[in-house]
Each structure stands twice: as structure tokens, then as C-alpha cells.
């Protein structure tokens, strides 16, 4: 499995990172170097192995259904690049 320029463009689009045309080729090479090395894992037999997502043994802790947060519009908007009337503001979204 190796990535080409088209794949790089597709991944960049999914990741919302603008990658100029001239960077796509070199980036494909860099990614392929990593992917080739990662392919070492193919040697490992994992047919009946359960994937491990978390090393934590305990169950998911749950909290009570109590409203004890929110009501802090100032904190929420304090760092916003653009806000107005309590809203975050972004370039117009076309649906």
C-alpha cells in the first residue's frame, strides 16, 4: 500500500490542511517512507488477538445528572478570533 499525489490530496482534504500542489509529491514520499516502515507489523500474527484500545482496567465512570457547568459565555468566547452577540462567527456556510 503506498500513497500517491491523489491520495495525499484526498487525505489533506479530509484533514482540512491546505497542501500546495508542489508539496503533494514530496509529502507522498515522506508518508510512504513511514508506511513502508510500519508495514513491518505484517510479520506479526494477530489472527485471534483482541485489539487493545485502552490499558485502563476499570469501567467507564459515570457522573450524576446535575447541571453544574455552562453559563460562562465570557469564558467560552474569550479566545474566539471572531464573535458577535454571543455567537462564534465564521465565514458563511452554504448548505
Amino acid at each position: 500500500m503506498s500513497v500517491d499525489k491523489t491520495t495525499v490530496a484526498k487525505i489533506a482534504r479530509l484533514a482540512r490542511i491546505a497542501v500546495p500542489d508542489e508539496r503533494q509529491g514530496p509529502l507522498a514520499d515522506e508518508l510512504n517512507a513511514i508506511l513502508d516502515w510500519i508495514a513491518e507489523l505484517d510479520e506479526v500474527k494477530t489472527d485471534h488477538v483482541e485489539p487493545l484500545a485502552s490499558v485502563t482496567g476499570h469501567a467507564l465512570p459515570m457522573r450524576d445528572d446535575v447541571v453544574n457547568d455552562g453559563g460562562c459565555v465570557d469564558d467560552v468566547l474569550a479566545n474566539a478570533p471572531e464573535s458577535a452577540s454571543g455567537f462564534f462567527v465564521v465565514p458563511k456556510v452554504v448548505e
Binding site: 450524576d64 456556510v93 448548505e95
Partner: protein
């Protein structure tokens, strides 16, 4: 009953599956302590977790988990004691984390079933594929500014249950019946308020058509429908559109579509779908969600009686028609009202009064049952007055109108207006004699064989009594006198 749709080139079968998003009734959000309620100013119900500030982490709300389990139990579904939260990754302005926490491979609730009742009283079982918990997104507003969108994150992180049906429905009417029934169950359970206008309940409809007996056709998904009418309109439009395309020799694109409430049509969604590859993976900020069988059993034991159970009881024990039983049990409040109003009374008569007079008056007055001026106790009393012959059914209608107007008890109205039914045979005989004397010619005609005039005499007697004469006694005595 067949649901086939006639096209130009033959018959088509419609196949519908629904994904319903139901907002979980809870105080706080699924993974944060901010309020889940509607109606606050922009970004007021937002915590730093909801705004996805750097380093913020989710902690799950137990009540939301329990609500999902209760709903699963109400759908007779398998409760999965271990379930996993995954991240569904995509960028959108109202999705601050850049992913939605959802359940993909291992949902909290597995297969279940929901029974719908159709207009003709027949039932159909619709398979439930799964129910999972997920976060709602925020709101983008596009009309505040010519070149900007405004983002409000109040809805961000509110708990939703996504309830996915099997493609078991065959008409838009069945789809509507499914949503109505699902909403009913959710309300009985108190797990979702079912308020479609506020968006607490929304449906994505998957529609395809096929020739009878053929494999499934390609389906489209129309998103975010927030009324029963829109669901039916969107399905009907999609069915017609797909049949036309197929009959013209075309093919259906598997795609997501939007419903335009102004035109009643659906259209392809342009944005967001360019390359939707959600890259699901287990959320590493959360651990597997584990509940014990003991917890599930306790929740099951505390569930209220559900509409199907009540409906069966109304039909089997009270002798109600399946239709009346379905109408009365659709809402828990209605069923509770009925139980209160019919206790110790003629159950069928109460059902009749509720579904015809009471619902009619409420509809006309634009009122909900909760706002009814007629209490269940007063409706019971009214039916009691009919049953014991104190007033006639005819008079009862007037009394009911008065009750609805004033909220007074029926016996008070009957006493105030002197509406008590006349059941004194002497008084009735006098009335009949007067009518017969005044209409000697008609009496002669009747006795000459014109049987149809009997009704005329009844009417005259009732009129003379001001409607208060006991109609049964009027009938009996009149017949004796005329025939005698």
C-alpha cells in the same frame, strides 16, 4: 393489505427504513454538566468541554445511559452490557471537537421490535436494528449576516438516542405510524419529550423502490425531518421521483438528500458530503461503557406500563375496539385520563365520549388533554348520569358542552338547568296523550298502516318534554298506546 404503487410500467414496492434521533430527557448534557434545556441565549448552555477547549475531557452522564436502557427495554430490545463510544470525525462549524462522540460498532442497545397499528386496526411488527447514544451538534445560523454564519453551541453535546429501524416499512403511512408509535413509547417511558417542533425528535428516512419480490433497490437518505407530515411528504416525493427515474431507464444514486419544506420536494445535499469518510475509532478519552444485569433488571422493574400492554387490556378486558384502544393509548396522559374516567363506569361508553366528544372539543378549542376543562372525574360522572338514566344521551351532549365551557360538574349543571330526565310514567303518558290528541289525523294514518310515523310521534313527545323525557320509556308507552 397491499401497499404496491402503480407505475407506468407496472407495480413497485416501497421499502422504508428510519433513523430517528430522539433527544434524551435529562438535566445535563451527555458528557458535560451544562444544561440540556432549550431556550437559553446564545452559548449560555455551553461548558468549556462543549466548546472543545484544549485539554477538556468528556465524563458520561449516568441518567442518559439509563434513559437509553429504558428505551431499549421499551422496544423489547437486547441491552448490551458492554458498549463502546467511537469518534465520528468530520469538520463542521457547529461541531467543535471536529468529531461527534457516538457508538458505531458496539451500541448500547441491539435488536428489538416495535408494533404499529394501521388505520384499519391491523398491526405490523417493525424490526429495530439498534439504538445508540451520541452527541447532538450545535446550530449554525446563516441569516444574521450577508457573508458570515453565526454559531451557537447550546445544543452541542446534548444526548441523543439514534434509533435505527430495519427496512420493514412499505408505505409512508406505515412510516408515520412507526414514528407516532415510537414517540408514544418514548413519552410513556419519559426518555424523550417527543417534541418534533423543537427538534427533540427528528427522522432520517431511507427510501428505495423495487419490483415486488426483487432484491432491494438503491436507497436515498433524506435527513432531518421534524414532523410526521414532512416524513410522509418526503417519502411520497422520493417514491415518485425514484419510480420515474427507474421507469425512464435511469438509476438511483445512493446519496443524502434534503427536504425542502416550502416545495415538498427533496434535493441532493451539496456540502459536507464531498468525501465523507468518518474515520470511526474508539474514543480514547472514554473507556468501555459497562452496565450490570442487575442495573438493567432494576430499570426494567421500574418501567411504567407501556401502550401495547394497556391496549391489549383495553381490548381484552374492557371490550374496546382496536382503533379506540390505539387512540386512547397513544399518549400516556390520554391512557391515564381514560383509566381515571372509566373506573367503575361503562368502559366503552367512556371511550366513546372521550374519543368523540372530548377530543372533538379539545381539537376545536386548540387545547391539549392537559388543558381540558373537563376532568376525568367529571367525565366519569357524566357517563354515570347517562347510565343510571338521570339524563339522556341527547341532554348529555348539552351538559358536556356546558362542562367544557365552565368546568362545572355535570350534576351541578343538570340541577341548575333542571335537565333531569323525566322517567315518571304518568307524566310521560300525559305528554303522549296530548300529542295524540293534537295529531288525531296522524294517529289514524299510523293505525292505517303508516308505521313510519312512529318516529314523528317520538319526536313530538320528546319536544314537548323539552328533551327530558326518558326516550326508552317514551318508546315503550307510545307503542302501547298507538298499537293498543
Amino acid at each position: 393489505m397491499t401497499n404496491l404503487v402503480q407505475g407506468r410500467t407496472g407495480e413497485w414496492e416501497v421499502v422504508i427504513g428510519l433513523e430517528v434521533h430522539a433527544q434524551v430527557s435529562s438535566q445535563a448534557k451527555l458528557f458535560s454538566g451544562a444544561s440540556a434545556s432549550f431556550g437559553a441565549g446564545p452559548n449560555e448552555h455551553v461548558s468549556l468541554v462543549d466548546a472543545a477547549m484544549p485539554g477538556m475531557l468528556p465524563v458520561i452522564n449516568r441518567e442518559c445511559v439509563y434513559q437509553a436502557i429504558r428505551t431499549g427495554l421499551g422496544l423489547k430490545a437486547k441491552i448490551n452490557l458492554v458498549s463502546i463510544f467511537d469518534r465520528k470525525n468530520y469538520f463542521y462549524a457547529d461541531l467543535p471537537q471536529g468529531y461527534q462522540i457516538s457508538q458505531f460498532k458496539d451500541p448500547i442497545v441491539g435488536e428489538g421490535m416495535l408494533r404499529i397499528v394501521l388505520a384499519d386496526g391491523t398491526t405490523r411488527d417493525i424490526g429495530i436494528e439498534r439504538l445508540h447514544l451520541e452527541q447532538d451538534a450545535g446550530k449554525s445560523m446563516h441569516d444574521q449576516h450577508p457573508s458570515k454564519s453565526y454559531i451557537d453551541l447550546n445544543r452541542t453535546g446534548v444526548a441523543l438516542m439514534e434509533i435505527v429501524s430495519r427496512p420493514d416499512m412499505r408505505s409512508s403511512a406505515e412510516a408515520a405510524a412507526y414514528v407516532r408509535k415510537l414517540r408514544s413509547i418514548l413519552r410513556y417511558l419519559g426518555t424523550c419529550d417527543g417534541n418534533m417542533e423543537e427538534g427533540s425528535l427528528r427522522a432520517d428516512v431511507n427510501v428505495s423502490v423495487r419490483r415486488p419480490g426483487a432484491p432491494f433497490g438503491t436507497r436515498t437518505e433524506t435527513k432531518n425531518l421534524n414532523s410526521l407530515r414532512f416524513i410522509q411528504m418526503a417519502i411520497d416525493y422520493e417514491v415518485a421521483r425514484q419510480i420515474e427515474i427507474l421507469e425512464d431507464g435511469g438509476s438511483i444514486d445512493q446519496e443524502t438528500r434534503l427536504f425542502d419544506t416550502n416545495t415538498g420536494t427533496t434535493r441532493t445535499m451539496r456540502s459536507k458530503e464531498d468525501a465523507h469518510d468518518y474515520r470511526y475509532f474508539p474514543d480514547p478519552d472514554l473507556l468501555p461503557l459497562m452496565v450490570s444485569q442487575d442495573e438493567v433488571d432494576k430499570l426494567a422493574a421500574a418501567l411504567p406500563e407501556l401502550p401495547d400492554q394497556i391496549r391489549d387490556r383495553l381490548i381484552d378486558d374492557y371490550g374496546l375496539s382496536p382503533y379506540d384502544a390505539a387512540v386512547i393509548t397513544e399518549e400516556r396522559a390520554t391512557a391515564l385520563y381514560y383509566e381515571a374516567a372509566s373506573a367503575g363506569q361503562d368502559r366503552k361508553l367512556v371511550a366513546n365520549w372521550m374519543t368523540v366528544e372530548l377530543f372533538g372539543a379539545l381539537n376545536k378549542g386548540g387545547k391539549s388533554l392537559g388543558q381540558s376543562p373537563v376532568t376525568p372525574e367529571n367525565l366519569a360522572a357524566l357517563v354515570g348520569l347517562i347510565s343510571d338514566g338521570t339524563i339522556s344521551g341527547r341532554i348529555a351532549k348539552d351538559v358536556f358542552a356546558d362542562m367544557f365551557e365552565t368546568g362545572k360538574a355535570p350534576d351541578v349543571i343538570v340541577a341548575e338547568k333542571g335537565l333531569k330526565q323525566v322517567s315518571d310514567s304518568g307524566a310521560i303518558e300525559t305528554l303522549i296523550d296530548d300529542v295524540m290528541n293534537a295529531n288525531a289525523d296522524k294517529v289514524a294514518e299510523y293505525r292505517g298502516g303508516k308505521d313510519k310515523l312512529f318516529g314523528f310521534f317520538v319526536g313530538q313527545v320528546m319536544k314537548a318534554s323539552g328533551g327530558q323525557a326518558n326516550p326508552g320509556m317514551v318508546n315503550d308507552i307510545l307503542r302501547q298506546k298507538l298499537d293498543g
